[in-house]
């Protein structure tokens, strides 16, 4: 018996009755029902469910649009698509709008219970990426910086209230894509970046472009090596690294609103480098 609170979104009263009955049979409590997009968010806000079951095709809207509206209100909303249709394109679109599960009608209670328990149980793989994964990223950065500066580096955690950081001058952002998506941020002053270039090339940096290219390459290598190590640890991660973008400004702030960024001041022989890494929970379960 699961005991979870569930809201049902379906335009058909008959379907809602059938889904509600299946949910009750497996011990869930149906706390709200919506039959269209208009009342969706209000009902969700009032009943505060643990989970939402979402129909795919509804008059004037669809399950993707409704899911988008719900996730705009609550980005942690856990939505299970319940549809008689099941094809590759629908699955891909469902994943992209942040739906976490997909069950086919007619509902099989055992399958439904399995997927609900999976969604609601602690995600051990995610806990592992937070624990071991962040250490591997730090290890990868430390190895590369030590090689470059010929000095050991030390990591000091930095704290922030709102996931917002002040740039020191140059910021490289790397997008991580895979079973869990994430972001790696490397931020350093122009002075520190130029010292890194001098150390690597045995001559001063030619110009700003060369310095920025070095920062991009360093970020790319650090993230690439760390993701490879994580993929070896568990191939389910399937992590890939998007190429870096690099920002430079004498006064900039960096915000990562959808992630809990673990941030560190990395003391190197050349000065402090800011290092941030975070992963998003959101593995999708399909039955």
């Amino acid at each position: 018996m699961s005991g979870y609170k569930v809201m049902i979104v379906d335009d058909s009263a008959f379907s809602r009755t059938m889904i509600a009955e299946s949910l009750r049979q497996i011990g869930c409590e149906v706390v709200g029902e919506a039959d269209c997009i208009d009342s969706l968010v209000e009902i969700y806000a009032n009943c505060q469910p643990d989970l939402v079951t979402m129909d795919l095709i509804m008059p004037g809207t669809d399950g993707f649009e409704c899911s988008t509206a719900l996730r705009l209100y609550d980005q942690n909303a856990k939505i299970i698509l319940v549809s008689s249709m099941k094809d590759e394109q629908t699955e891909a679109e469902a994943r992209r709008v942040g739906i976490v599960g997909y069950v086919q009608k007619p509902l099989d209670q055992e399958i439904l219970l399995g997927i609900i328990n999976n969604i609601m149980s602690p995600d051990t793989l995610y806990l592992q990426i937070l624990d071991r994964g962040i250490e591997l990223f730090k290890e990868s950065l430390a190895q590369n910086l030590t090689r470059m500066t010929k000095c050991p580096v030390t990591f000091t955690p930095t704290s922030t209230d709102n996931q917002q950081f002040i740039s020191q001058g140059i910021t490289a952002i790397i997008g991580i894509i895979g079973h869990y998506s994430g972001t790696m941020i490397l931020d350093l002053s122009i002075d520190v970046a130029e010292k890194c270039v001098s150390s690597l090339l045995n001559r001063p940096s030619k110009d700003r472009d060369e310095t920025l290219a070095m920062v991009a390459e360093l970020a790319n290598i650090v993230a690439g090596v760390a993701c490879s190590m994580l993929n070896k640890l568990d191939k389910t991660y399937s992590l890939r690294v998007a190429p870096p973008s690099v920002f430079s400004s004498s006064s900039a702030e960096i915000a990562s609103p959808s992630l809990n960024i673990h941030s560190y001041c990395v003391e190197t022989g050349f000065g402090c480098i800011f290092f941030g890494i975070g992963f998003k929970k959101g593995s999708t379960l399909w039955m």
């Binding site: 891909a92 894509i177 991009a216 973008s245 960096i254 990562s256 609103p257």
Partner: protein, 153 residues
Amino acid sequence: MDVKHINPILNAFSEIIPQLGFDSIVKTKIALLGSSVEYSGILIDIGLYGTIKGVVLIGMSIDSAMTFASKMMMGMEVSSFDSLAQSAISEMGNMVCANACTQFNNVGISGLDISPPTVMISDFGTATLPANQVILISFIVDGIDVNVYVGLM
């Protein structure tokens, strides 16, 4: 520059923005730029990876971002570009880029996925994208200037 990269982004923007409560979307310019672009205000940075890879940036002034976020939150007053406004704006970027993956799939560029958004905020800064050439698509959305920079390869 690959012209196949323009329409999926255009279509995604045109499909998602009305869902966020905006009425008018006018494409005002498409231009080809080098890999570095100057910005003043905010840039949402989202990485893409798959059969093509790179970065999409969505930029606007800070005032525009506050107006945009307010409209997304059904007119709620936004007096500074605070964490709530940042969250709303980055969710817009996330939705546009996620939809762009579907649009790319429709033109045979499959298997793309995106990273979570990061927001850069500066009065004056430079962004260097990982592609040699960047496509700039400018829009006016309910009177708000929005620039989308597509650096894919």
